[in-house]
């Protein structure tokens, strides 16, 4: 197996992807002592910016959409190629072709092309005025403008985290909003309907209309504008604005023909972080990080997973940047997955992965007070925890998950010393 290519001050390192992971990866190369030429390619015309505020404070109007540029200690020692994307990769010639027809030759390449919003199933319906998705700051600016116009109703298609955040924003703006999802509760696929139902009850308390167990068949138009959704059961919901929040797809199409193992689920990496080809062989000049990287996670028996989490993008990009700069001394990357979601004035946080969980228990706090921690078990081990307005307790549960501690946990906790813990079906469909 070929070894890590040593970069020198004459080398050229290229980062494809001008988001959080690309930026933090580039910084890590510099921190690891790389002094050569460094280029960051980003398909949006903006310097890397922070996305989480886009579905929250930008939509409520607390922040303008263009102020979330990320802090960075990269100064003038980076060449920016913004507003241009990657078109193809020739690993033999070590060149990257860009969408403007130019090419970049690289000695090391960091792939951080991330994801885009999963498109609505009918492209012609998605193009209707009044239909939105949220991924970029330009998307958020467009949706904000539509909300300011006080639509009579907003429909949010998909009750995942982004959908729930948008629905909460609509209620903060006192706009009627309907959240539609095929699951029996919001967040059903991510955290199960047992805990998802508790979150859904909070949304209902805010006045969010719920259409659960329902699927949208069509976005309907009148006079060339979106006017409502037609459900698969034949029902109709009138609305002036639709937000399509069906998750994300990974940006890997440009890797077709590169020989690398990549598809809509991500680009495969080995345990060090190098990308691999169709035969599983690593390319020691190319690493991947962030949403697009599908890597063998040591906490999950080496199963390959791709995580769309902010903290993961930062930590994995730092790892990949160091790796490409020749510093492979650190441990194998395997941080415990974690994320947060701010829905109105409620904070939902998670650590671990709920996938495959066969049990859940409220181990702390009380849903009636909208303040609790739910712990998930799988085959008698702790695998994930979700907190609602209880973030300070979460790191302790992170430790239980990291060490695959027995589930249910034996010890009583300080704020509910004597109550028996009820083990529930987590309610994954």
């Amino acid at each position: 197996m070929s070894d890590v290519a040593a970069l020198t001050s004459d080398s050229h390192a290229v980062v494809v992807g001008g988001g959080l992971a690309g930026l933090r990866g580039a910084e890590a190369m510099r921190d690891a002592g790389f002094e050569g030429r460094l280029t960051i390619v980003g398909n949006e015309p903006h310097r890397p910016y922070d996305r989480p505020p886009l579905s929250k404070h930008v939509l409520t109007g607390l922040l303008p959409p263009d102020v979330t540029r990320l802090p960075s200690d990269l100064d003038g020692d980076v060449e920016w190629r913004l507003g241009v994307g990657a078109a193809s990769l020739d690993r033999g010639a070590r060149t990257l072709r860009l969408t403007d027809g130019t090419t970049l030759r690289y000695d090391a390449l960091l792939i951080a092309t991330g994801t885009r919003a999963r498109p609505w199933i009918h492209p012609e319906e998605e193009r209707l005025p009044g239909v939105f998705s949220i991924r970029s700051r330009d998307d958020a600016a467009s949706l904000r403008a539509a909300l300011v116009a006080r639509p009579k109703r907003v429909v949010v298609i998909g009750a995942g985290f982004i959908g729930c955040e948008v629905a909460a924003v609509c209620r903060e703006l006192d706009l009627p909003v309907c959240l539609i999802d095929p699951s029996p509760s919001p967040l059903g696929r991510v955290i199960g309907s047992a805990v998802g139902g508790l979150i859904g009850a909070v949304h209902e308390g805010w006045g969010v209309e719920m259409r659960l167990g329902a699927e949208v068949a069509h976005l309907e138009a009148k006079g060339g504008r979106f006017v409502g959704v037609r459900l698969k059961d034949g029902g109709r919901i009138e609305a002036q604005v639709a937000v399509v929040a069906l998750g994300a797809v990974r940006n890997t199409e440009w890797l077709d023909g590169s020989g690398l193992s990549a598809d809509s689920g991500g680009i495969d990496c080995d345990e060090r972080g190098f990308v691999t080809d169709a035969f599983g062989q690593p390319d020691p000049r190319i690493a991947a990080a962030g949403d697009v990287a599908r890597f063998p996670h040591p906490l999950y028996g080496g199963r390959r997973i791709a995580l769309e989490h902010w903290g993961h993008a930062v930590a994995q990009a730092r790892h990949a940047g160091r790796l490409l700069a020749g510093d492979a001394s650190g441990p194998v990357y395997g941080a415990v997955p974690n994320f947060w979601s701010t829905q109105g004035d409620m904070v939902v946080k998670s650590v671990g992965l709920t996938e495959g969980a066969d049990a859940v228990a409220i181990v702390q706090g009380d849903p009636a007070e909208r303040r609790f921690v739910a712990l998930y078990g799988r085959a008698g081990r702790c695998v994930a925890a979700v907190s609602v307005d209880s973030a300070r307790w979460l790191p302790a549960y992170g430790h239980l998950i990291e060490t695959a501690a027995p589930f249910p946990p034996a010890e009583a906790v300080t704020d509910r010393p004597s109550r028996k813990i009820d083990i529930l079906d987590p309610g994954f469909a």
């Binding site: 102020v67 979330t68 507003g83 904070v347």
Partner: protein, 77 residues
């Protein structure tokens, strides 16, 4: 190069908070009350682009964070 980065102050500070780490101890809200506040029990709202004259407040907020979740970029340093 097609870079657009329009903001209120031409050279503001750049701030991001790792909200995974944030545990709502609210020390930043005391250190820099014009730029950080809690919504509800633990939803932190912060200004990601405060003007450069907030430098001292932001530095106080950064240092006072018990979980060291605040990152500030100062264009003049």
């Amino acid at each position: 190069m097609p870079t657009t980065d329009d903001s209120r102050d031409p050279t503001p500070l750049r701030v991001s908070v790792d909200l995974n780490l944030c545990q709502a101890y609210a020390q930043c809200c005391y250190a820099a009350p014009r730029h950080f506040r809690l919504i509800g029990r633990e939803a932190l709202f912060y200004d990601p682009a405060p003007s450069a004259d907030a430098r001292a407040d932001m530095e106080r907020a950064r240092i006072s964070c018990p979980v060291q979740a605040i990152r500030v970029e100062d264009p003049d340093v």
